[in-house]
C-alpha cells in the first residue's frame, strides 16, 4: 500500500503547476489591449457594470494586486460572467462538460478497441501482408486532419448510408449515443493510429522478451503467453502514452465539436473566441488545463496499479 502514498502528497507537488496555469491565463487575458473592464464586459456595457467589475477584479490596482484579486475570485468560484450568455462562466462550463467528457472517454475506448487487435495482429504476424497493411494505415492515420476525417465519415455514414445524424447531441441516453458515435469514431481513429504504432512496437519487444520465452518453456500455449504475459506488459507504456496524449485529444475534441456542432466545452471556446467573450475563453482554457493535470495524476495511479515495479 505504501506505493500508493503518492496519492496523498502528489496534489501538493502539483500546486506550482496549478499556480502557473492561473498566472498564464491571467497574463493572457490582461494582455488584451484596451481598458480591461471594457475588454471583459464587451463594448456595450453600462458604466454601473464597468464599475462593479473594476471593483471585483481590482482593475484600478497594480498588476500584482490584480492577480491577487483574480486568485481570490478563483477560490470563490467566480470566473466572471459571459457577455453572450449572461451567466456565470463556471455555471456555463458545467452545462458543457458532459458532451466533452463523453467524446473524450468514448474516443479513448474506441481507440483501444481498434488499436489493440490491430497491434496484436501486426506484431504476431510480423512481416506478413496484414502487418504491412496495418503499418501503412497507421502511418497514414497520423496525418489525417480530424476535421476532414469527420466530414468524410459524415459523407459516408450520414449522407450516403443515413445511419447517424449529421450534427447535434441529442436528449435521451440512446439518442446521445447515436449522435456521439461518429464524433467518437473520428477522434478514436486518429488516436488509434498513434496507439497501434506504439503498441505494436512494445508487443514486438515483449514477444521476444526473456519472460515470454520462459513462459513458453513452461508449456503455455502461444495464445496464453500472448494474452497473459505479453499483453499486460505491453499495456504499461500504453497507459502512459494515453496520458501524454490527453492534451492532444482535448485539442482534437475542440475541432470535432465544431464540426459536429456538439454543445461541449470546445465549441464554447471557439464561440467565445469569435464573440470576444474573454471570460469564457479564460475559464475554458483553465478548466481544460486542470483536467489535463488531473488525467495525468489518474494515469499515474493506474500505472502503479498495473505495474508492481513502479514506485512514485
Amino acid at each position: 500500500m505504501s506505493r500508493y502514498r503518492f496519492v496523498l502528497y502528489r496534489p501538493f507537488q502539483l500546486l506550482p503547476v496549478l499556480v502557473g496555469i492561473s498566472i498564464i491565463t491571467f497574463v493572457l487575458v490582461r494582455s488584451i489591449p484596451g481598458d480591461p473592464a471594457r475588454v471583459l464586459l464587451g463594448p456595450r456595457s453600462t458604466e454601473e457594470a464597468l464599475r462593479r467589475v473594476r471593483e471585483q477584479f481590482g482593475l484600478d490596482e497594480p498588476l500584482w494586486l490584480q492577480y491577487f484579486y483574480f486568485v481570490k475570485n478563483l477560490f470563490k468560484g467566480e470566473l466572471g460572467k459571459s457577455i453572450l450568455y449572461k451567466v456565470d462562466v463556471l455555471k456555463l462550463i458545467a452545462t458543457r462538460i458532459e458532451p466533452t467528457l463523453v467524446l473524450v472517454i468514448g474516443s479513448v475506448l474506441l481507440a483501444l478497441l481498434i488499436a489493440t487487435p490491430m497491434a496484436a495482429i501486426a506484431a504476431r504476424r510480423r512481416g506478413s501482408w496484414p502487418d504491412h497493411v496495418i503499418r501503412i494505415i497507421s502511418t497514414a492515420g497520423l496525418g489525417f486532419p480530424a476535421f476532414w476525417l469527420a466530414i468524410m465519415l459524415i459523407l459516408l455514414f450520414s449522407v450516403q448510408l443515413g445511419w447517424f445524424p449529421v450534427t447535434g447531441y441529442g436528449r435521451t441516453f440512446v439518442d446521445k449515443i447515436h449522435h456521439m458515435t461518429l464524433p467518437c469514431l473520428t477522434a478514436g481513429l486518429a488516436l488509434a493510429a498513434v496507439l497501434t504504432r506504439n503498441l505494436r512496437a512494445s508487443i514486438l519487444a515483449e514477444l521476444q522478451s526473456d519472460q515470454a520465452t520462459a513462459a513458453r518453456a513452461r508449456g503455455l500455449s502461444e495464445n496464453t503467453v500472448f494474452w497473459r504475459h505479453v499483453m499486460p506488459n505491453s499495456l504499461v507504456p500504453t497507459v502512459n502514452l494515453l496520458a501524454v496524449n490527453i492534451g492532444w485529444l482535448i485539442s482534437g475534441s475542440v475541432v470535432i465539436e465544431t464540426v459536429f456542432a456538439i454543445p461541449g466545452m470546445g465549441q464554447l471556446l471557439v464561440r467565445g473566441i469569435f464573440t470576444r467573450d474573454y471570460m469564457v475563453v479564460q475559464g475554458v482554457a483553465m478548466v481544460f488545463a486542470c483536467a489535463t493535470v488531473l488525467v495525468n495524476f489518474l494515469a499515474d495511479i493506474l500505472t502503479v496499479s498495473i505495474d508492481p515495479r513502479i514506485k512514485l
Partner: protein, 284 residues
C-alpha cells in the same frame, strides 16, 4: 524428421514495396513532389485560384475542371495547387520558430542548470498542462486571427518539446569527455555550447522536427478550418475544407481533395521521420 520437412515453410506473399522502397525514399519523394508543385504552381495550375466564375459554380470533376469547382466557381485543382505554397510554408515556419526558441532555451537550461533550469522546467510543466490547441487558440484570441498570429502562437507553445529534447542531450553531453576537455582548455561557455555540444545534441531534434511537421501542418490547417488562421480569399487546404463543408451533400469534391492533399503531405513527413530515425539510429 527429415531435413525437407523441417525446412518447409508456409507459403508467403512477397510484398512488392517492403524491401525495395524504404520509408526514407518514399517520404523524401512525396515531399519533393509537393515542393515542385508549390514551386511551379503558376505553370501547373490551369486557372487563377481566386478567380470567381459564376457560370461554373459547384460543377463536378470534368475535363475542364479535373477536381470540380466550388460554390464561387473557382477551380478546385488550381486552389489545391496554390494552397500547397501556404501549407508548406505553415509546416516550415511552424517548425522553425519553435525549433530555434526551444533550442536556445533548452541549451541554456541544460548547460547552466541551477535556478535557470528549475525556472524553465517549471514553465515547461505549465505550458504542457494546457492542451496544445487550446493555448494556441487563447493566444490567437489576443493577437487576432491570421497566419502571422499562427506562427507567433506556434512558437510560444511549440518550443517546449525542443527545449526538453535539447536540455536532455546537454545534460548528458556536458559531462562527456570532449566537453570537459574543451572546458579545461579554457574555451568560453558559448564556444563550448555552440561549437562542441550543439552539433552532437541537435540530431535528435532534427529527426523530431520531421514528425513535428505533421502536427504543425494539421494544427495550421485546423486553425484555418476554424477561421482563425489563413484568411479568405487565399487558398489554404484547411480553409477550403471548411468552405466546402456546407456543400457536402451536393459537392463532395470541394472538401475531399484538399483533405487528400493534407494526408499525402503529412504522410511524406511521417515517412521521412521514420526513415531518418531508423537511418540515424535516433529513437523518439
Amino acid at each position: 524428421m527429415s531435413r525437407a520437412q523441417i525446412r518447409s515453410r508456409p507459403w508467403r506473399i512477397r510484398w512488392p514495396f517492403a524491401n525495395r522502397v524504404t520509408p526514407l525514399a518514399l517520404g523524401a519523394g512525396i515531399l519533393i513532389a509537393w515542393l515542385l508543385i508549390a514551386l511551379f504552381a503558376p505553370l501547373l495550375a490551369p486557372y487563377d485560384p481566386i478567380y470567381q466564375d459564376a457560370a461554373v459554380r459547384l460543377k463536378p470533376p470534368s475535363w475542364a475542371h479535373p477536381l470540380g469547382t466550388d460554390n464561387f466557381g473557382r477551380d478546385v485543382l488550381s486552389r489545391v495547387i496554390w494552397a500547397s505554397r501556404i501549407d508548406l510554408q505553415i509546416a516550415l515556419f511552424g517548425v522553425i520558430f519553435p525549433f530555434i526558441l526551444g533550442t536556445i532555451i533548452g541549451s541554456i537550461s541544460g548547460f547552466f542548470g541551477g535556478w535557470v533550469d528549475t525556472l524553465f522546467m517549471r514553465l515547461i510543466d505549465v505550458v504542457l498542462a494546457f492542451p496544445f490547441l487550446v493555448l494556441m487558440l487563447a493566444i490567437i484570441t489576443i493577437i487576432g486571427p491570421g497566419l502571422g498570429s499562427f506562427y507567433i502562437a506556434m512558437a510560444l507553445v511549440g518550443w517546449v518539446s525542443y527545449a526538453r529534447l535539447i536540455r536532455a542531450q546537454f545534460l548528458v553531453l556536458k559531462n562527456s569527455d570532449f566537453a570537459m576537455a574543451a572546458v579545461s582548455l579554457g574555451y568560453s561557455n558559448s564556444r563550448v555550447m555552440f561549437r562542441h555540444i550543439m552539433p552532437n545534441a541537435i540530431l535528435g531534434s532534427i529527426v523530431f522536427s520531421m514528425s513535428d511537421a505533421v502536427l504543425v501542418l494539421l494544427n495550421g490547417a485546423a486553425i484555418s478550418y476554424l477561421g482563425l488562421g489563413v484568411q479568405p480569399p487565399t487558398a489554404e487546404w484547411g480553409m477550403m475544407i471548411a468552405e466546402g463543408q456546407g456543400f457536402i451533400t451536393t459537392a463532395w469534391w470541394i472538401t475531399t481533395f484538399p483533405g487528400i492533399a493534407i494526408v499525402t503531405l503529412a504522410m511524406g513527413f511521417s515517412l521521412l521521420a521514420d526513415g531518418l530515425g531508423e537511418a540515424l539510429g535516433v529513437r523518439e
